[in-house]
């Protein structure tokens, strides 16, 4: 089975165009949507290349889970973003380093192309898809890395919960801030009450003038 060139080029253009949008859009929420589209296009690219399971995982993990986590983070930090404009010097430096990285990688791949082990896609994978073979490979040859990845994911979730949670010191600070605001509110009310009382004391004269 060969990879369809039309599908490959369309998806590759979507992946690279989406990637450019992710790093250039000023609005980070829009950039997150672009990231979701990019990772979903990568998943489709994997599926077109015969890696259906990896493609599905990429769409679910990358397209949905990662983007949702980032959107949640952005929503909780809304209104406290960084200064919007990056200095032009920084953009030029970033462009220079990115260009050098691309050139280095392209040259490395081009120079090493003779050393690649190239083989035809076997007929049983064309007929049945790669999911069963990949599953067998995961549960026989890669079972230890799979277990380590599962533990890593659990530890990361626990660490994220611990880091994202509010600790006792921050709770005390928040309580102190709330008490300060309540004291200020009480003082403001007392001031207003005194002003009203003074206004009432001067009011009879004003009433007579109004009556006259």
């Amino acid at each position: 089975m060969t990879v369809s060139p039309a599908a490959f080029y369309v998806l590759a253009a979507l992946v690279l165009g989406g990637g450019v949008l992710v790093v250039t859009l000023r609005d980070l929420t829009q950039a997150t949507y672009a990231l979701a589209g990019t990772l979903s296009a990568v998943g489709l690219l994997f599926a077109v290349c015969g890696a259906e399971l990896v493609g599905a995982v990429e769409v679910v993990f990358g397209g949905f889970a990662v983007s949702l986590m980032l959107l949640g983070g952005l929503t909780l930090t809304r209104g406290r973003g960084p200064r919007p404009d990056a200095a032009p010097a920084r953009w030029q430096l970033a462009l220079l380093v990115a260009g050098a990285t691309a050139a280095g990688l392209w040259l490395t791949f081009y120079a090493s192309r003779g050393d690649w082990h190239v083989a035809a896609w076997p007929q049983h994978l064309v007929d049945d898809g790669s999911t069963a073979t990949l599953g067998r490979s995961l549960l026989t040859q890669a079972v230890l890395p799979l277990g380590v990845a599962a533990v890593l994911l659990a530890v990361a979730v626990l660490a994220a919960t611990t880091l994202g949670g509010v600790d006792e010191q921050e709770r005390e600070l928040a309580r102190a801030e709330q008490q300060r605001q309540e004291r200020e509110e009480r003082a403001r009310r007392r001031r207003e009450a005194r002003q009203r009382a003074r206004g009432r004391a001067g009011a009879p004269g004003e009433t007579e003038e109004v009556g006259a």
Partner: protein
């Protein structure tokens, strides 16, 4: 024209370079995290490319297995990254990476 491993590697290298650009040009920590996601995804594309066009009977699809594990690690990285963004935002009132240089910022985050 047939698509080969070189095509996938070209996409991978270009996406990685785009990620490097985002990593260096973004000011927000969330933007930096997105650029990192692009770079890790670029490595997955290379792994799938080698697995697809360099099939090996002795270790079938090991590149794809590795790409799956990379996706898991990526999710863990983003979960931790978002937690750090929230922590930074709460303690320093912003997520600008320019304000993070120096030992005081690190001490503030780890205290």
């Amino acid at each position: 024209m047939t698509v080969g491993a070189g095509h996938l590697l070209a996409v991978s290298a270009t996406l990685f370079a785009i990620g490097v650009f985002g990593l260096l040009s973004r000011r927000s920590l969330a933007g930096v995290l997105m650029a990192l996601v692009l770079m890790v995804t670029a490595s997955s594309i290379a792994l799938v490319g080698f697995a697809r066009f360099g099939y090996n009977d002795a270790r079938p699809l090991s590149g794809m297995s590795f790409a799956l594990l990379v996706s898991v690690v990526l999710s863990a990285e983003v979960a931790l990254g978002v937690a750090l963004v929230l922590l930074l935002n709460r303690r320093r009132g912003g997520t600008d990476v320019d304000d993070l240089d120096g030992p005081s910022a690190a001490a503030e985050l780890t205290s």
